[in-house]
Symmetry: C2
Subunit: 296 residues, 2 copies
């Protein structure tokens, strides 16, 4: 069984997993997507969870990335330090079964007191570069629960910073004093743009958040706009810091779920920066294919 004859690529996160059977020619032949994220796998349950994947997609080698390689996952795959390219990842794969099951390590960044980690995004980032979708030197924004601002240099991840923008919106909408106002759909438009503008202005976020409620109480804003406004406020705050740390000209590559990349592209435009959107799942497949080529 050789990787070039086909393999299964798995993006195994905290709450979801996506697995793809990739044929000898590199095409996706079949896929499995479910909510069997690592937190749903009981202690000792990973061999069985992997057998579910093979039962669905075939008896093939597995290349897995994401939180499955964390200390909460199946096997801890130690972080590769920046600068990290696909060759560095391939050299540090965590082999669960020789030549048959490999876990891709995450990437860490360390500089003085600064410290950061990623797991899963590295395959997408380096896959997009390997595929020619992102140039060798670029600023990439990767929104999600934890948005990453990533500096690519010479085709490797040189530095990055994580901002918990998505998680903050989730905390606010589920558990905060704003929760009864944030149930609506987040959509581009006037309210989102107003939030972006407030975020780009750089006021203190925890103060701006309270004013969402106060303005509604005093009749200065519509409650039904609160979700889009608050999303815009968080994303605008995120973009302000992200582009301040990388003031160079040129587009920002925004990679991830299309609904999120669209919102970030709008906020980047408001900040005077061009955005190029890339689909995260497609980038993951690029990264998995290029990594597998390094294993032949």
């Amino acid at each position: 069984m050789r990787w070039s004859d086909g393999f299964i690529a798995v993006d195994w996160g905290t709450t979801n997993r996506r697995a793809y059977r990739i044929g000898a020619g590199g095409a996706v032949e079949d896929r499995l997507e479910d909510e069997r994220g690592i937190l749903s796998v009981p202690h000792g349950g990973f061999p069985g969870a992997v057998e579910e994947i093979r039962a669905a997609l075939g008896e093939l080698p597995l290349l897995m990335a994401g939180m499955v390689g964390s200390n909460r996952g199946w096997r801890d795959a130690p972080y590769v330090p920046c600068p990290a390219g696909l060759p560095e990842l391939a050299a540090r794969l965590q082999w669960v079964e020789p030549a048959r099951i490999a876990i891709v390590p995450g990437v860490c960044f360390s500089d003085g007191a600064a410290a950061d980690v990623m797991r899963g995004e590295e395959v997408q980032l380096l896959g997009a570069y390997a595929e020619g979708l992102v140039p060798a030197d670029a600023l990439v924004c990767h929104p999600g629960t934890h948005n990453k601002w990533v500096r690519i240099e010479d085709g490797r991840i040189a530095a990055f910073r994580t901002v918990m923008t998505g998680e903050m919106f989730s905390l606010l909408s589920r558990h905060s004093i704003l929760s009864d106002m944030l149930g609506g759909e987040v959509a581009p438009g006037t309210a989102f743009d107003a939030g972006v503008e407030a975020g780009l202005a750089g006021g203190p976020l925890t103060g701006e958040l309270f004013s969402v409620r106060a303005r509604a109480l005093l009749g200065k804003a519509r409650r039904e706009d609160a979700a889009s406004y608050t999303s815009g406020l968080l994303i605008g705050t995120d973009v302000r810091a992200g582009v301040a740390a990388a003031p160079s000209e040129g587009p920002v590559y925004v990679m991830g779920r299309p609904d999120l990349t669209g919102l970030y592209a709008a906020a980047l435009a408001a900040a005077g920066r061009e955005a190029k959107e890339l689909e995260g799942d497609a980038a993951f497949l690029c990264g998995a294919r290029h990594l597998a080529e390094l294993l032949q």
Copy 2:
């Protein structure tokens, strides 16, 4: 039954209530404190909840402040706009029973797109001024679930801004990716000071928060320091914006629970500002007494 013969002052918040019997001479003769905040009172239950207070403290007039006067409380007492002093509050009391049960209105601030509200703090703030504990022109910081930065001018609340610092710490420690690290006690000291320094430096809060986890993962910080560091980070961020909006010289009056005022005083010192701490419950009693005098 006259107010000068004695009354009961009630600070009735969302999750707690504190009631004090104040005698003819102004001394506290008895008190009741329990967790019967407004959220625990069922629809139509306020008359009974008030009878509990009178059963414990005596058949006296009641002066009540806090969330009991909100749209989630007993009777909505509309906000008094800034500038608001004790006479403005006395003129706009919400009388539930004539001459026997009054609810103190909250205060609102509105300036262009800015909007803010308070309920309960106004009695403490104006009570401290009436008692001579705070000068006629002062900057007051009132930490709590929702910290208030308040500008007192001519003995009235002229402007204020709310920052949800305490609520943010609670959200993070209960529900976020940091929750397993924030269970420890928050205490002044090296870790708190380091967090304050990071907060005063003004980096993006949602990025600084993620780095708390990353630094622990990479062995750059001790997990047991995370609660104090994160509290310092949030308070430092809060203080940075609070003093930037009021750059004048002179002390900042910090009013509230002594554990919180101590942490804010330390952060203010790190920001180069003198802090004068005031006990919030004592200030509430001052405000209730001076308001009752206006009802004679």
